[in-house]
């Protein structure tokens, strides 16, 4: 049975997870792809400059991985705090 206290903790754990994911989201796109792109472009990644690769490829892969990671962790949180559906 989910008590109000458990629900409160569940929400806190969720906010923490969202925070971590959004930091990664920001660094891999706005960080690597925009703000530090010139520095990263000094690094070669196969036939790419690394900053350019992040801006046109890498950031998108990270986005996809992040959503699946979040969904997986949230399913575990739902069960841990006994607030899952069904």
């Amino acid at each position: 049975m989910a008590t109000p206290e458990l629900v409160r903790q569940y929400w806190k754990a969720n906010l923490r997870l969202v925070g971590i994911c959004l930091v990664i989201w920001f660094i891999c796109s706005y960080g690597f792809g925009v703000l530090w792109v010139d520095q990263l472009n000094q690094v070669r990644f196969g036939g790419f400059q690394l900053g350019f690769w992040f801006a046109q490829q890498g950031s998108i892969y990270v986005f996809v991985a992040l959503i699946f990671f979040y969904a997986w962790r949230m399913n575990r949180l739902d069960r841990k705090f006994d607030v899952h559906e069904d």
Binding site: L22, W25, F48, S59, Y61, I67, Y70, A71, H84
Partner: protein, 590 residues
């Protein structure tokens, strides 16, 4: 079989498929019509969302845009994918738990206000009509080029097909048709990309090919491309010409705008459970990413192909440029459409393609005996003409035509549905006739969809001059108005109706005002735009495309300040917020 007959066959088969699906999945109730009865599996919803999201612009124009913008094109790649992370983490699961039919309905209940609902409906209708006009235009262009009918005839056929499955099937019909359309469009997009990747680099995977070496030269494709474009006076392909802050803000405005677009949000109302909404956003982005990671590869290879064709020899040598009589076949077909233009300015019978607006390159060009750029290639044709430029077989060209039409129709249908739902559910049932029966509301929804199609067709036939600019406006508006109102509604219990309405109006008016000031939208008759649209006059160096970000920040600030200055929302609203934050229905089971 001739190319035209083959194209008719492929496009005709795809239409028969869509209509067959529509008849099989007719809507029987308003629940079916608005949100497909909440019975769509997360993977199917992911595909439908991807087809809904990837419009004629993504399919037809984006790779071409990137081909000419190089690094600066990254704003579209990141901006139109990163928003799904925001959707999955911040909005989709909670709106699904809320469990109603439309976005304005959430705003109305969370902010206990009909005024808020009307503001949301206005934002929604404006954003959606802007978009849909562009889609119908895209259908018309593809039809006229590949099936050689008038743009108007093409438009009417497209309207007829959308009419059948949107009016008949509602969200349920649209969803399953979009699944089929996704398959058609992604196949049509990747097949030519693979062919071209093999031709240029020998590597069949486009995402890897554009980081590969060109066989026999020992130089990577992108380095080679950088060399050629700079030797013709263009900006280096892998570094852009936009300022950092502008790239940052445009990307952010597109991302947040994506998460605030009603036709995207509503897709997450159709899945059975909260956890399906989360994972479904992941599938949607995965399916979108297949096209979005292929597009920059197509862009760079198309640019390389184009320049290599026009500049087969050394830059500056007499026979370095392609002689006009040696021009390839696609040159003439596309010239008839006016999307490729050629003017032999120096009269040497050869094609010079270079950047004649670069003052540092002008002296060198004069030395070469060039008197201006002679070739203009419209960005919109890069994807459509690519198979011809690369000399691919006819069936690939026919497939690309079917793919472009699928992309345009699927997006148009999704947009038309949110418009009709806003009219029949938010305006008619929500405000004017609260006691209307389910059956009559369904009929009202169908009539609204039919009207929306007629208006969209008219806009596509005779687009107001501002369609291109308004795309930026639609994203900025969504970012500055709807997104903050929904986000705050979920994450801050203290936000009340005064704060939300003040915030939405501030974001809306500021963003609209800025775009009107620099680009001119509706007030052209009054002398707009009044500002000079260059970086030195922009606020903090942010272009009108990126200004939605500032509008969003203002919305947040005003909403929070006004909420704390007025009394908190009623108890029942605070309970409602607690309720949507938790997947299980605590009121009945807990």
């Amino acid at each position: 079989m001739s190319l035209q007959a083959l194209t008719y066959l492929v496009v005709g088969l795809s239409f028969a498929l869509y209509i067959g699906i529509a008849i099989w999945s007719r809507a029987h109730s308003t629940g079916d019509f608005y949100i497909a009865g909440k019975g769509v599996s997360p993977i199917a919803n992911g595909m439908a969302t991807a087809a809904d999201w990837m419009s004629a612009a993504s399919f037809i124009s984006m790779a071409g845009l990137i081909a000419f913008l190089g690094y600066d094109g990254s704003v579209y790649l990141m901006g139109w994918t990163g928003g799904y992370v925001l959707l999955a983490l911040l909005l989709a699961p909670y709106l699904r738990k809320f469990g109603k039919f439309t976005v304005p309905e959430f705003i109305a209940e969370r902010y206990y206000s009909k005024t808020a609902r009307i503001v949301a409906v206005i934002c929604l209708i404006f954003i959606s009509f802007t978009y849909v006009a562009g889609q119908m235009r895209g259908v018309g262009i593809v039809f006229s080029r590949f099936l050689e009918v008038e743009v108007t005839t093409g438009l009417l056929i497209g309207m007829g097909v959308v009419f059948i499955y949107a009016v008949l099937g509602g969200m349920k019909g649209i969803t399953y048709t979009q699944v089929a359309q996704y398959c058609v469009l992604i196949f049509a997009y990747t097949v030519p990309a693979v062919f071209i990747a093999i031709q240029i680099t020998g590597n069949p995977i486009p995402q890897l090919a554009f980081g590969s070496e060109i066989p026999g030269t020992g130089t990577a494709l992108l380095d080679k491309l950088n060399d050629i474009v700079t030797s013709l006076g263009f900006t280096e392909y892998t570094s852009g010409s936009k300022s950092r802050i502008d790239v940052f803000c445009i990307t952010m405005a597109l991302m947040v705008g994506t998460a605030g677009l009603p036709h995207v949000i509503v897709r997450f109302f159709t899945v059975p459970r909260v956890r399906d909404a989360r994972i479904s956003a992941g599938y949607a982005l995965l399916f979108i990413a297949i096209l979005y990671t292929t597009a920059p590869a197509v862009g760079s290879m198309a640019r390389y192909n184009l320049i290599n064709t026009m500049q087969p020899g050394e830059v500056g040598s007499v026979d370095g440029n392609l002689a006009y009589e040696d021009r390839p076949g696609w040159f003439d077909t596309w010239r008839q459409t006016g999307l490729v233009t050629f003017d032999d300015k120096n009269g040497d019978g050869r094609i010079q393609y270079y950047n004649d607006s670069n003052p540092e390159f002008a002296a060198l060009a004069a030395d070469y005996g060039w008197s201006g750029n002679e070739l203009d290639v419209d960005r919109d044709i890069m994807v459509l003409a690519n198979p011809e430029i690369a000399g691919l077989p006819d069936w690939v060209i026919a497939l690309v035509a079917a793919g472009g039409i699928a992309a345009a129709l699927s997006t148009a249908a999704g947009l038309l549905l949110v418009i009709s739902a806003a009219v029949s559910h938010d305006l008619i049932k929500g405000i004017f006739l609260p006691n209307i029966s389910d059956k009559r509301e369904l009929m009202a929804g169908r009539i609204a969809a039919a009207f929306a199609i007629a208006i969209a067709g008219y806009l596509g036939f005779d687009p107001p001059g501002w369609v291109a600019q308004v795309v930026a406006f639609a994203f900025g508006l969504a970012a500055a108005s709807l997104f903050p109102a929904i986000l705050l509604g979920i994450f801050f219990k203290r936000i009340n109706k005064e704060g939300a309405i003040a915030g939405m109006l501030t974001g809306l008016i500021f963003t609209y005002g800025y775009i009107e000031f620099f680009k001119g939208l509706f007030l052209k008759w009054a002398g707009a735009p009044w500002g000079t649209n260059t970086a030195e006059y922009w606020l903090f160096g942010i272009s009108p495309e990126g200004i939605g970000v500032i509008g969003m920040c203002l919305n947040f600030a005003v909403a929070i300040a006004v909420s704390y200055a007025t009394k908190p929302p009623p108890e029942r609203i605070q309970h409602m917020v607690e309720h949507i934050r938790v997947p299980r229905d605590l009121s009945t089971k807990g």
